[in-house]
């Protein structure tokens, strides 16, 4: 009995091993097959060649939650007008880059996707299709196209700008022109029981945008960031940052702890007049709109660091075409972008549905909301500072700068100077990696 039993076990083990081996081989073959298949699958190509006048179905994946519904509606219109199909994959918000990477890596990438200017665009650069010869590229406003290695690879969504969004009935821009007047204004509101300025706990709204100003004020922000990456300069030794630290001290001393504030409470308190100023961009108007008539006018003014009198304006995101898609798909994708930027329906959607401030010379902006109007005017008159934060090492704002800032706002004894040292340390760590 015993010998028989053990024999049985042995046999079972053998079969077990065989099975495992078979399964592994099967799976490996499967992996290898999909790994090697970089170009479009042959079946898809065949089906599209059967109907030559109709373009291949394309897919779009993009990061902005704000335009998700509008984009889907636009895709339907496109199908009505041209008969070509577009599939819009839901917007992913914060997890966008991760999801995009997963999709691209699995060779299930979308035909058209969005990338943020700067480090993110750099990261995915092996996927872009060269748009240099496409007709709509010539309409992109000067210096706004996304270029990699001298080739135009992306069309900007539009320009966006941020600064101090303020309640015109509470704040006079003349009272917020430098550190002293800024601090005085905050103290005044504190005495009145109002919140003078509100940041919020989200990494970009907490530190990412506001720290852009000292970077943008450097003579050559990109070169400065490179030096910072190499450790040749320190924020703590740079004049603009020292003043920035004083601004942050004033904010910490006189306003509600931003870690207690979320984006929606930040804008809600602003809309109801409890907060006089918020450091925000023109996109935040979408939140204010929900409150209907605010009962006061709003405006956007520059963050008055080191005499700065300009709004920070830049391109946040760009449309790119997946160069790893099949030729038919690329053709269809390009046709869609062409339609988006040249047809009346497309242009109208960009301005009136997406509420973007166009970065194309062939698109006229009218009836902008007050914040977008401020950004648009600043752009036209050239009164802008760049978005240096696009050139920060990838992920640094969320991963390294935000935790350091949290510490600054939580630790009551931490001075601005110590805060800068923390930021320097965080930067050194992030740049090394």
């Amino acid at each position: 009995m015993i010998t028989k039993g053990s024999e049985q076990v042995k046999k079972v083990k053998k079969v077990f091993g065989l099975l495992t081996a078979t399964a592994m081989i099967a799976a490996m073959v499967g992996c290898g097959g999909s790994g090697g298949n970089n170009s479009a699958s042959p079946s898809a190509t065949a089906s599209s060649s059967a109907a030559p006048e109709k373009l291949k179905k394309i897919s779009i994946f993009q990061s902005k939650v704000e335009i998700a519904e509008q984009l889907e509606a636009l895709a339907k219109k496109y199908t009505e007008e041209t008969g070509n199909e577009v599939e819009v994959w839901g917007a992913a918000g914060d997890g966008y880059a991760t999801q995009l990477q997963a999709k691209l890596t699995a060779n299930e990438g979308p035909s058209i996707f969005s990338v943020a200017t700067g480090a993110e665009a750099e990261k995915f650069k092996s996927y872009y299709y060269d748009l240099s010869n496409e007709p709509y590229v010539k309409d992109i406003a000067p210096n706004m196209a996304l270029t990699i290695d001298g080739k135009v690879v992306g069309v900007p969504y539009g320009v966006e700008g941020f600064g101090l969004v303020y309640n015109k009935s509470l704040v006079d821009p003349k009272d917020v022109t430098d550190l002293a007047s800024f601090t005085k204004t905050l103290e005044k509101f504190k005495a009145e029981g109002k919140n003078g300025l509100s940041l919020s706990q989200e990494a970009y709204f907490l530190i990412g945008h506001i720290i852009n100003t000292p970077f943008a004020l450097q003579p050559d922000p990109q070169a400065f960031i490179e030096k910072l990456n190499k450790g040749e300069v320190k924020m703590a030794d740079t004049k603009e940052f020292q003043e920035f630290a004083k601004f942050m001290e004033a904010i910490k001393a006189n306003t509600k702890n931003p870690l207690e504030v979320k984006y929606d409470t930040q804008m809600g308190d602003f809309a109801t007049g409890k907060t006089a100023m918020v450091h925000q961009g023109n996109w935040s108007y979408a939140m204010l709109k929900d409150y209907g008539d605010l009962g006061f006018e709003i405006g956007m003014m520059p963050f008055p660091l080191a005499g700065n009198n300009k709004l920070a304006v830049g391109v946040a995101s760009n449309w790119v075409i997946n160069g790893k898609a099949g030729p038919d798909e690329i053709k269809a994708a390009s046709a869609f972008l062409n339609w988006l930027f040249t047809s009346e329906t497309g242009k109208n959607a960009i301005v009136n549905e997406f509420k973007f401030i166009p970065a194309m010379v062939n698109i006229e902006a009218k009836d902008l909301d007050p914040l977008s109007q401020a950004v648009y005017e600043a752009t036209k008159s050239g009164q802008t500072i760049p978005w240096a934060l696009n050139y920060f090492p990838q992920g640094i704002i969320v991963n390294d700068l935000a935790p350091a800032t949290q510490e600054f706002f939580l630790n009551k004894n931490m001075t601005g100077e110590q805060f800068l040292q923390k930021l320097d340390a965080a930067w050194a760590k992030a740049a090394k990696q």
């Binding site: 046999k11 079969v15 990477q101 990261k123 996927y127 207690e260 990838q394 992920g395 935790p403 939580l410």
Partner: protein
């Protein structure tokens, strides 16, 4: 006994599971070991550079990783105690012949049916908004403040949420254990004059050892691998003070795009969890007694 036929059945029933287990667990695990020796950012077009054991050397110099290890240990120890104590107490409570015991059991078990992510968001609201307003109304601001903004209290907040979720589950296991203890034995002990404390320590606990083994194993590995509550409740904040092992690995891979180092961390993580849980199972197994 027809052995061939038996093997046939054996294969038929185990094959699907083995196939799934191999393809989604074993093979990725082996491939993962391979990735831990390269430096790669996750973009297929970019080269994977073989770096040998560099990733492993590097992770032991990674202060944030070591800190997250320390947080995880603190969290696990606290969670282990709180979850099992609460589970055991609840089990003793509902097996005591209360009239509402069935309803109570259901209610205690309920939080376990809610996913960790949702629990995290619910408790986030409690710890931030509800605590703040309770503190303002009652004036007890030293207890009721935004716990998630304090590095120490944020960790405790996580323990509370985890215990809230797991206590009901361990309770069910303890109930099963308690119910398998024969009533005659308890009555005999009572007749012999054993008080409640004696009955608990001399009869109930030794006979509950198998339940302890299971519950400790579940909470130990569950607490060590925690990710969902971590993500939704604190996101590792404030200032990374509640970043646990799993989250550190996630951040290394997806936030910093260091697939190699992240994978090396994951392997180390696996070894630690395996060693810890095996040791625990062996120790508690030894203490199990037969009736």
């Amino acid at each position: 006994m027809n052995t061939k036929k038996d093997i046939g059945w054996y294969v038929l029933f185990t094959m699907p599971l083995i196939f799934i287990f191999t393809t989604v667990v074993i093979i990725p695990f082996i491939i993962g070991i391979g990735y831990s020796f390269v430096s790669w950012d996750g973009i297929p077009a970019n080269p994977k550079v073989f770096v040998g054991f560099d990733n492993y050397v590097q992770l032991f110099q990674d202060e944030r990783f070591l800190q997250s290890a320390w947080h995880t240990i603190q969290f696990t120890v606290l969670a282990l105690i709180v979850v099992n104590l609460a589970g055991l107490l609840l089990a003793l409570l509902v097996t005591n012949g209360l009239r509402v015991s069935n309803a109570a059991r259901t209610m205690f078990f309920m939080p376990n049916l809610i996913g960790g992510l949702i629990l995290g968001y619910i408790w986030q609201f409690i710890f931030t908004d509800a605590f703040n307003s309770v503190g303002e109304k009652t004036g007890l601001k030293s207890i009721f403040f935004n716990w998630l903004l304090d590095p120490q209290f944020a960790l405790i907040a996580m323990v509370i949420v985890f215990a809230w979720q797991m206590a009901g589950y361990t309770m069910v296991i303890y109930i099963a254990g308690i119910q398998s203890i024969p009533d005659e034995m308890m009555e005999a002990a009572k007749v012999d004059g054993a008080n409640l404390w004696h009955r608990l320590t001399k009869i109930v606990f030794p006979l509950l050892m198998p339940s302890f083994t299971i519950c400790l194993f579940l909470t130990l590995s569950g607490a060590f691998k925690i990710f969902d509550v971590n993500l939704s409740l604190t996101k590792g904040g404030p200032n990374n003070a509640t970043e646990m092992f799993a989250m550190n690995i996630y951040n290394e891979i997806f936030a910093y795009s260091h697939y190699g180092i992240g994978q090396a961390k994951a392997i180390v993580f696996f070894l630690i969890v395996a060693v810890l849980t095996l040791t625990q199972v062996i120790i508690t197994k030894k203490r199990e007694v037969q009736m």
